[in-house]
Symmetry: C2
Subunit: 324 residues, 2 copies
C-alpha cells in the first residue's frame, strides 16, 4: 500500500494547508502552525473548547472545529502527540475570557503534553480544565482505556453546552457525564500503513479479523476467524452492554477510514436490529467516518447512554465539516 | 481483503435497511424495494429528480436524496444497473405532477434500463426527461465517456433548479449545462474487491498506480510508477484543463472509498496550488468521499466551469446526509 503524499515529513503540514484552503469560510490557522482554528477567533464570553492529538484520525479533530463544537484543534504529527507549546497556542487562540476546556484522549503522551500546556496557560492567567476520554473497553483496566470514537460525542455535547453560554465548570461537568456514559469497541479486517515507514500496523491473513483494535495501528486484543457481520456486532454489543445500565442510547457506527460506507450501513442495520431486540431505544444515531485510523478497514461501535439533557445538547445546531 | 457483510446476496438489501433506519427523519423506502425516497414523498408541483445505478458508490446516490437534491435513488446490486421496473417505481414515487428528470451515468446498462423505465412511465402519463452524465475524460471518445464524480454536481445544481420551482425543460437545460461544463479523471493505488467473488478489480504491485480508473473496479488506462502527489495532480489537471476554456471553477477532490481523508486534503492542497498558479479561480470546492468504488484507494479530480447561474444553484440550501 502506497501513501499519497509528497513526503512523509510534510504530511501534516500539507493536510492542514489543504483543510484551511478547502474551507476558508470555516477555518483559519496561525503563523504556519498545524492548528485549525475557528474562523474569526475565540468568541468573547464563551468557554473555549480545544482538542487534538496525533493526526491520521480525520475528520477528527480538525473537522469538529466550528460553531457548536470545538474552537481549536491541535494537529500533531501522524499518531504522535502535539507538543505543549503547540497546544498552548491552541488554548490562547480559543480563550475568549471564560476559560478553556481541554478534551484529551487517554494516551500517555497526550495526557502529559496537554497537562503541561495547561500549566503554561495558567501561568499566562488563562483558566483551564481538562477531561480525559477513555471510552475504549478493549482494555479491562479503566486507567488503561484509550479515547476513541466516543470522543466525538464529547466534542458535540460539551460544545453545545459551551455554545449555550454555560460556565467552565458546568461545561466540564457535562463533558464528564458524557465520558462516564460512553463506551466503544472496534474491529478491523485490514490494518493501516504508517506514512514514515509504509509498514502496516499489523499483519492479518485473509479470513482473519482483529477485535479490540486501537486507532493508531495497534493490533487488537484477539485475533479470530472472520465471522458474518451479524455475529461480530452481536459479540461487540454484548461487551458494550455488560458495562451499561440504561436503555436510551446514542449509537455511533464509526468507520476506520478505509471501510466502504455501504459496509458501515450494513453494520448499522445489524446493530440497530440487535439493540431493538434487546429492548434498547436508539434515540439518535451516527454512521460514517468520524474517528479514523488512516486507511484501516474496520469499524467501531459506540454507545452513549443519554437522558434529556444530553439529547438536547446533542440536537443543538452545529456548523462543522466533520459532524452531521 | 474480506468484506464485512452477512452474505453477498443481501449486501444491497441490508445497506438500504441500514440507510433508512439510520436516517428515519430523511428517508423512507417502499414495499421492501431497494429504493431510497425522500421522506414524505414527492413534492406537489416540483419537478422530481431520480438518479441511481449500481450500488457500491455510497454516499451516491442514496445520500443525495433530500430537500434541494434528489427525490429518489434507485439502488441496483453492486456495480449492476437496476431493472427498469425498479426505476419505474422510483419515477412514480418522485412524480409530483410536474414531471421527472432522470440523471443517468453513461454506462450501457444504465442508459438502456433508465430509457425503458422512461417509456414505461410515459405509458402511465408521467412526463420524463433524461440527461446522461459523461464527465470521465479517461476515455477519448465522448460517446464512451463514463459518468463519475461529476454526477454529484449535476444532482446538486439541477436539484436546486427543481427546488426553485423551475419547469422540467428548464431543469433539464441546467443539468445539461453542468454536464457540458464538467470533467473528471481518477487514479488509484489499490483496487476494490467485489462482494460476490472477493476478487480485486485489478492487481497492482506496490509502487504502481493506475491513472484513469473507473468506479466499478475497472483498471485505468495507464499503469505508472507511483509519483509524489504533486506530480500526479499536475498530470491530471493538465488533462482536465486541455478540455476547458473558462477560469472560474468548482473543484471536487473525491475519495474512492478507501482513501484517508488526510490524503484527500493533501491532494486538495496541491490541486488548489496548481490551479492558482495557472490563473484559475476556485469559486467553490468539495473534498471527501462523494462517489466511491467500495474500498478503492485513490481519488478523482473534477472541475466544473461555472458562471453566476450555476454558483447560485450550487449555493442553494440542501438537506441530505451525503452532500455538504
Amino acid at each position: 500500500m502506497e501513501k499519497l503524499m509528497q513526503q512523509a515529513k510534510h504530511y501534516v503540514r500539507d493536510m492542514v494547508l489543504g483543510i484551511v484552503s478547502a474551507h476558508p469560510d470555516l477555518y483559519e490557522t496561525r503563523d504556519g502552525l498545524p492548528l485549525i482554528l475557528r474562523k474569526g477567533g475565540a468568541i468573547q464570553g464563551k468557554v473555549g473548547l480545544v482538542s487534538g492529538g496525533g493526526s491520521g484520525h480525520e475528520p477528527a479533530h480538525a473537522g469538529y472545529v466550528g460553531d457548536g463544537m470545538l474552537d481549536a484543534a491541535v494537529c500533531g504529527e501522524v499518531f504522535t502527540s502535539p507538543t505543549p507549546d503547540l497546544i498552548l497556542e491552541g488554548i490562547k487562540a480559543a480563550h475568549g475570557g471564560a476559560g478553556v476546556l481541554l478534551i484529551v484522549k487517554n494516551y500517555a503522551g497526550d495526557v502529559m503534553n496537554f497537562e503541561m500546556a495547561k500549566e503554561l496557560a495558567e501561568l499566562e492567567g488563562i483558566e483551564v480544565e481538562t477531561v480525559i476520554v477513555n471510552d475504549d473497553i478493549a482494555l479491562p483496566a479503566t486507567s488503561e482505556r484509550r479515547g476513541v470514537a466516543g470522543t466525538v460525542l464529547v466534542h458535540k455535547i460539551a460544545g453545545a453546552a459551551a455554545a449555550a453560554g454555560q460556565p467552565l465548570q458546568e461545561v466540564k461537568r457535562v463533558a464528564e457525564k458524557v465520558i462516564a456514559n460512553t463506551r466503544s469497541i472496534g474491529m478491523a479486517v485490514a490494518p493501516c500503513y504508517m506514512p514514515e515507514s509504509g509498514k502496516p500496523g499489523f499483519d492479518l491473513s485473509p479470513h482473519e479479523m482483529e477485535i479490540g483494535i486501537g486507532i493508531h495501528g495497534e493490533k487488537g486484543l484477539e485475533r479470530k476467524s472472520l465471522a458474518p457481520v451479524q455475529e461480530i456486532t452481536a459479540q461487540l454489543l454484548q461487551k458494550l452492554r455488560q458495562e451499561m445500565q440504561g436503555n436510551d442510547v446514542i449509537v455511533l457506527v464509526n468507520g476506520m477510514g478505509g471501510t466502504p460506507l455501504s459496509e458501515l450501513y450494513i453494520t448499522y442495520h445489524y446493530v440497530a436490529e440487535a439493540l431493538q431486540k434487546d429492548g434498547v431505544s436508539i434515540k439518535r444515531s451516527l454512521t460514517g467516518n468520524y474517528m479514523t485510523a488512516l486507511e484501516m478497514h474496520g469499524f467501531s461501535i459506540t454507545l452513549c447512554q443519554v437522558d434529556d439533557e444530553l439529547i438536547t445538547y446533542f440536537d443543538a445546531p452545529v456548523h462543522t465539516v466533520g459532524f452531521r
